[in-house]
Symmetry: C2
Subunit: 365 residues, 2 copies
C-alpha cells in the first residue's frame, strides 16, 4: 500500500513534480517513463545505497521498459570532485548514452549534486531524476536544481543550475538511514521553520521525537511542508539573485566548518546546525533576533542531537574559509540571519567585529 | 580609424550583440562595461595569443575601470580537457572572483569553448565575453553558446549551452594568424554557403583570393553574412533540437578524423573540410546532390587549400569513432547532407553501405 502526495514546482518550461510518500519506489518507472524520450537510464548511486535500493529501483525501471546502467560510486563528500564525475562520464560514453537518455540519482545529497552536474554537462545537457534516500537530500538537495562538485578551496564552487524532470521521495528509505544522518537531516528541517514557518517550528518542538522515530504521517507532512517552502522560494528566484539566499541560513559558517575539517569529519547537516547557531548568536548580538527566540532555536537543535558550537580553531581561519563563499559580493560576505522564529533576512553590512565575536563565542571549550 | 557593424542575436533574456569590424579592440572596455556588474575580468588566453593581444585588451579593459586577471594557457586542442579547465578555476578562486565578475575569451575556438564552459560552471554561472582572434572562432565558435571540453573518447562530449554577453571580432587580428589556420577557418565559411546561401558560395568562388588576402571590406561582409546565418539558425533552435544540426555539416566525419588522429595533427577546419567532402560524396551517391554542385564544392575546398580526402584508416575505425557522435539518436547517426549549393538537410535513415562506400572513396591513396 502506498501513500502519495504530489507537489508541483512551477519553473515554466523547467517545471517538475515532487512525489512524496511511502511505498513509492515500485511506481518509479511508470512516473519516469513520460519524462524521458530515450530508452536508457543510468542509475548513479554509491556503495552504501546500492545494496539497499539498487535492485528495487532497477526492477521498477525495467518494468517500464527502460534499460538500466548502474554506476556505483564510493560514498562520501570527499568524493564529490571531478575525478568521480569523470567515472560517471566514462560509463555514459562507453554505454553510448544519448541526449534522449536519462540519469537517475539514487542516494543522498552528494549523489544528487554530482548526478545533476553530470546530467547538466554530458552532451551539454540530458534529463535527470532524483530519488533521494536521505532526509537531508529529501528536504533540501533534491529540490531546486543546484548541482555541483567541490574544489579544494571550497564547496560546490563548480556546478550548474539544472532542474530534474522528476523527484520521488519514499520516506520508507529513511528507515535504513543511520541515526546520525537522520539527525543531520533535521538541521535543514529546522532551518525551514526558522526562515519561513513558525508553525512548522512549533510542530517540530511538539513532535520532534515522533518525527525522529519516522512516524509516517507526521514525517510526510513535515517533508511536504519543507519542500513546499523550498519550491516557493526557488520558483520566485531560480538562480539565487535574491530571496533564494535565505535557504543558506547557517551555510556560510557551516561551509567554513566543513572546509576546515576536511569535509568528512562533519556531516553537512551538522555543520549547518552549528552554522545556524553562530548566525543566531550574531543576530542576537545585533538586536535582530529576540533572545527568547534564539534560545528556542538552540534548544531545538540540541534536542535533535545537533551541535551548537564549532571546532576550536583560530577565528581568522574561519574568516579566511568564509571569504570563498559564493555569496560574497564586492568583497563583502552577505549573511543570512534569523529575525526570530519564522523570518530571516540577508544582511550585507555586518561589522567584522560582530562576526568575530559570534564565532569566538560559538567555539566549544 | 575603426569600422564596425553590429549584429543582434535574439535569444530573449540571453540576447547579445556581435561587433564585427576593424580596429575594434581599443573600444572593448566601453562595450563590455554595461554588461558586467562586477569590477573584474579574467582574460583567458594562450601562450601564442598573449604576446600579440593581451596588452591591448588589458589596456582597453583597464581604461573602462576593470581590474584584469590574465590566465595564460598552453595552446592547442590537446589541452581542451578538464586539467586545463581546472587551471582556470584555480585562478578564479584564488583571485576571489565573484558571481558578478566576468571572464573574457581571447583566442581561437579552444579558448572560447573552455572559457565558456568555465563561465557556465564557476559558481554555477558567471558572465563571459568573446574576443575571437581566429577566422574559425569568428565565424563559428563565438556565436551560439556551445561550450565544452573533450573526452578521450570524443570531442566536446562534456559542456554546456552558455551564451556570451558580448562578442567582439576585430578582423585585424587575423593578420597575425598563420596561413594554415586562416585556410582552415575558410572551411566553416564555405560551409555556410553550402548549407544556406548560394549567393555567399558564388561570392567565395569569385573573391576567394581577396578574402584569403584579408581584404577588409570583403572579409567584413563575409564574416557578417556567416554570423548572420548562424545567428538566425541558433535563434530558431538554441539547444539543437532540430535545424541547428545543419551547422554540423562535415562535423560527424570531421570529428572522427580528429579523434583517430589525436586532435593535434589536423586542424578542426581541415577535418570539417574533409568531412564535408565525404558528406558531399555520400549525398551525391544517394541522388541528393547534383554532381555539378558536388564538383563545385570540392573545387572550392581545393582552391582554399583544404583537404577533400581522409587519412588511410580502416573504414571500421571511422564508423566506431562516429558512433560516439552527440547527434546519434536511438543508435542511429543522423547525417547532415548537402542538397546542392545553398541547402542541406538532416538524414536519419542512411544505409550503412552507402556511408562505408563514401568513406572508402574519400580515403586518400
Amino acid at each position: 500500500m502506498s501513500q502519495e502526495t504530489i507537489l508541483e514546482l512551477d519553473l515554466g518550461p523547467r517545471s517538475y513534480a515532487l512525489h512524496i510518500g511511502s511505498g513509492l519506489l515500485a511506481g518509479l518507472g511508470e512516473r519516469l517513463r513520460p519524462k524521458v524520450k530515450g530508452g536508457r537510464v543510468a542509475v548513479i548511486t554509491n556503495e552504501t545505497v546500492a545494496p539497499l535500493y539498487l535492485e528495487p529501483v532497477t526492477c521498477a525501471l525495467r518494468d517500464s521498459g527502460f534499460a538500466v546502467l548502474p554506476v556505483i560510486l564510493p560514498d562520501g563528500e570527499s568524493h564529490k570532485h571531478w575525478g568521480t564525475l569523470q567515472t560517471i562520464f566514462d560509463h555514459l560514453i562507453e554505454g553510448r548514452f544519448e541526449r534522449s537518455d536519462a540519469l537517475l540519482a539514487l542516494g543522498g545529497g552528494v549523489i544528487g549534486d554530482m548526478t545533476g552536474f553530470a546530467a547538466a554537462s554530458y552532451l551539454r545537457g540530458v534529463a535527470f531524476a532524483q530519488v533521494p534516500t536521505t532526509l537531508l537530500a529529501q528536504v533540501d538537495a533534491s529540490v531546486g536544481g543546484k548541482t555541483g562538485i567541490n574544489h579544494r578551496l571550497g564547496k560546490n564552487l563548480i556546478g550548474a543550475f539544472h532542474q530534474p524532470c522528476l523527484v520521488l521521495m519514499d520516506v520508507e528509505t529513511l528507515r535504513t538511514l543511520p541515526e546520525r544522518e537522520r539527525l543531520a537531516g533535521m538541521a535543514e528541517v529546522i532551518k525551514y521553520g526558522i526562515i519561513r514557518d513558525a508553525g512548522l517550528f512549533s510542530l517540530l518542538e511538539e513532535r520532534l521525537e515522533a518525527i525522529l522515530a519516522l512516524e509516517t504521517a507526521t514525517l510526510t507532512r513535515v517533508l511536504r511542508t519543507c519542500c513546499a517552502i523550498k519550491a516557493e522560494i526557488v520558483a520566485a528566484d531560480e538562480r539565487e539573485h535574491g530571496t533564494r539566499a535565505l535557504l543558506n541560513l547557517g551555510h556560510t559558517f557551516g561551509h567554513a566548518i566543513e572546509a576546515l575539517t576536511g569535509y568528512d569529519a562533519w556531516l553537512h547537516g551538522e555543520a549547518v546546525a552549528a552554522g545556524m547557531a553562530v548566525a543566531t548568536r550574531l543576530a542576537e548580538s545585533l538586536g535582530l533576533c529576540d533572545p527568547a527566540d534564539a534560545t528556542r532555536i538552540r534548544n531545538l537543535l540540541t534536542r535533535a542531537g545537533l551541535p551548537v558550537t564549532i571546532p576550536a580553531r583560530p577565528v581568522a581561519e574561519y574568516l579566511e574559509a568564509m571569504s570563498h563563499d559564493k555569496k560574497v559580493a564586492s568583497g563583502k560576505i552577505r549573511y543570512v540571519l534569523p529575525e526570530g522564529i519564522g523570518k530571516a533576512s540577508v544582511q550585507g553590512e555586518i561589522p567584522a567585529a560582530a562576526v568575530e565575536a559570534a564565532l569566538a563565542a560559538a567555539i566549544s571549550c
